[in-house]
Amino acid sequence: MSENIVIKVDDVSKKYSRGLRHVMLYGMQDIGKNMLGLSSNPEILRDGEFWAVKDVSFEVKKGETLGIIGPNGSGKSTMLKMLNGIFMPDKGKIEIKGRVGALIEVGAGFHPMLTGRENIYVNGAILGMGKKEIDKKFDEIVEFADIGDFIDLPVKHYSSGMYVRLGFSVAVHSEPDILLIDEVLAVGDYAFQAKCFDRINYLKGRGTLIIIVSHDMNKIAQYSDNVIMLHEGKISKRGDTMEVISFFRIFMGKQYIKTSRVNSADFVGRFGSGDAEIVDAVLLDENGQPADVVYAGNRYIFNVSIVFHKDVDNPIVGFILNSSSKIRLYNTHSFSRGKKLGFFNKGQRIEVSYKFEANLLRGVYSLTPAISYSDGFNFYDCRNNLITFHIVDNGYAEGLVDLKANIAVKSDQKYEEF
């Protein structure tokens, strides 16, 4: 392993058993074989087993911070456990240079009957800190936790926030060469979180290699030099932080559409006399291709096909855009533009295209096409929330509307716009 590389993961795989029966059965088999000094043949996938992590390889250099992201169940925590030495890989090899510490289980070893003071020593010992080290850092740890006089009370009297602050404080003062962080950062109030991140930055500055697993893209973006994305145990994308996060966002957008079926009865409804019928509707991108994901700021075409079952004079066509929270965001029709459409014969078919710019931020939206009588009050056909789609943006803003704002900062020395 070259000088600079501190962690090398080489073609690593790990399998899990489905179902309790297999857990127990295979557990016995594997342990039995291991006890006799035999291999348990881990590369073979037995009935009822699946690969939680498959053929994963990556390297992390000294002082680097790697982010690992992915949907739930993609193998992130499993990978972290292997780096931590809790699980052994079933295939491949992991090489690590230096002492590994983890911010994963906060307050490990805490006994509710013992005081905070006593528990600091227990937790510290479990994390690998000797008594001398804890003695030296004791005051710092107590101060960082900021729980006041409660330090001398049994831990069972602590609020969950205090418990976490104390546990976190001990963990954050062990100074490993490699720090693994798993989702535990979503605890504590804002001030405490800020303190923790300061500390993490301090460790980063000292050359600590950090691996962070999180669902919070902001944190990942802020701290990671590189990111890998896992899906179903394999790496689907790796590289520059913003690139991978972008890819992940789009991926999750597509996943969301697949999984969210807007089916509630009051959300989808249809009414109208039926003398004119909306027979088909589709959302297309600029090039006329069906769009399953809509990108903020791009142009799209909402195509509606209408068939007339009777002679119709001057109908009004239009559509409504609703947010997922049923706020009517936009409503336009031919009448508001002062246009009379004319006479249509029975049997005629027309295509109405609404071309628009999707100046909205990420979220779920729906389109309601309608055609009404010339009085604008009675409807031939109105299909509520016929098309649902998901908008993906670049993460620059939050809310509903995309104002496409730019930010410029000017000082005596320089001018920056971004």
């Binding site: 392993m1 857990v23 127990m24 557990g27 016995m28 594997d30 342990i31 291991n34 006890m35 000094g37 035999l38 291999s39 348990s40 881990p42 590369e43 456990k81 292997m82 931590n84 030495g85 809790i86 699980f87 052994m88 890989p89 079933d90 295939k91 491949g92 090899k93 992991i94 090489e95 690590i96 240079k97 230096g98 002492r99 590994v100 983890a102 994963i104 289980e105 490990a108 070893g109 006994h111 509710p112 009957m113 013992l114 006593e118 528990n119 020593y121 227990v122 010992a125 479990i126 994390l127 690998g128 000797g130 008594k131 049994p154 060469d177």
Partner: protein
């Protein structure tokens, strides 16, 4: 410096590092975790007796009750226990305290790993420290009972032999024997949650097959049973150092001790080899 050490994780890694290195790792791991063992032991000890009414007295309450029952049964003729050189209560008390070192020892060690909870699957630390520190509770209990012996000796006017000072040495084989079985049980409990229950049923039963509450039988099938039960020899040997002034059956005690030592090392090795598998299955 730690920095230069490269850790390598591969499947079946211990198969690759070889037999001798395995043992080296085992001893090193145990040595490095000595402070952790002490801390965990202190934690469990202080927590156990805090906020209880009787505190440390619980350690002596149990044997007193059991012995009390047997004294009653003996006196009233329901059970015919046989002749003992000292008052029966004293004899039984010593016997059951030594046996408890074994039975309580098994019970606490069997539960030690799953009792640690999510810590085992989230943090990497030598799990053997859990087993050993939990055994400490059984040792402490035994030590408290020895104090009880002193009181009882005075009450019944019994003088212990000077060899009693060798008791700490004499209990070493039984400690190794218990830990030997305990290492294995702690792993088994990770898979089969009812292992501690089965174990305690077994030790309750074994109590009556071992000459702890009664002197060793001179005739009948029990003689053979006794001769082949290592626990019998170890318990009798310890009791002899207190009451007799020397071990009556030296050969029995010797082979039982050797058996205990072998069992201990074999079991320790098994624990080391299967340790990480347990974290996966818990």
């Amino acid at each position: 410096m730690e920095r230069d050490k490269i850790i390598i994780y591969t499947p079946d890694r211990f198969l690759q590092i070889g037999f001798l290195n395995q043992w080296r790792e085992m001893f090193l791991s145990l040595f490095l975790s000595r402070e952790l063992i002490w801390r965990l032991f202190l934690r469990d000890f202080s927590a156990k007796y805090k906020q209880t009414l009787f505190g440390v007295l619980w350690a002596v309450l149990n044997p007193i009750i059991v012995v009390g029952v047997f004294v009653f049964l003996n006196k009233s003729g329901i059970l015919n226990i046989g002749e003992t050189t000292v008052p029966y209560s004293v004899y039984a008390l010593i016997g059951i305290s030594i046996y408890s070192l074994f039975s309580t020892g098994l019970s606490v060690t069997a539960n030690s790993i799953i009792g640690a909870g999510s810590m085992v699957v989230k943090i990497n630390f030598p799990k053997i420290s859990l087993v050993i520190s939990s055994f400490g509770q059984a040792l402490v209990e035994f030590a408290i009972r020895i104090v009880l012996f002193a009181v009882v000796f005075v009450i019944f006017g019994v003088t212990p032999k000077w060899t009693m000072v060798l008791l700490p040495l004499a209990i070493i084989p039984i400690i190794l024997f218990t830990l030997g079985i305990g290492f294995f049980l702690s792993l088994l409990t990770g898979i089969f949650r009812d292992t501690p229950h089965i174990t305690s049923l077994f030790t309750s039963f074994l109590l009556f097959l071992t000459p702890a509450l009664y002197p060793p039988p001179k005739s009948g099938v029990f003689v053979i049973l006794n001769a082949w039960n290592p626990l019998s020899h170890l318990i009798m040997g310890c009791r002899d150092t207190i009451l007799v002034g020397g071990i009556s059956n030296v050969s029995g005690f010797l082979w039982s001790s050797i058996f205990a030592i072998i069992l201990f090392f074999a079991s320790w090795r098994i624990f080391y080899l299967a340790e990480t598998r347990i974290a996966e299955r818990i």
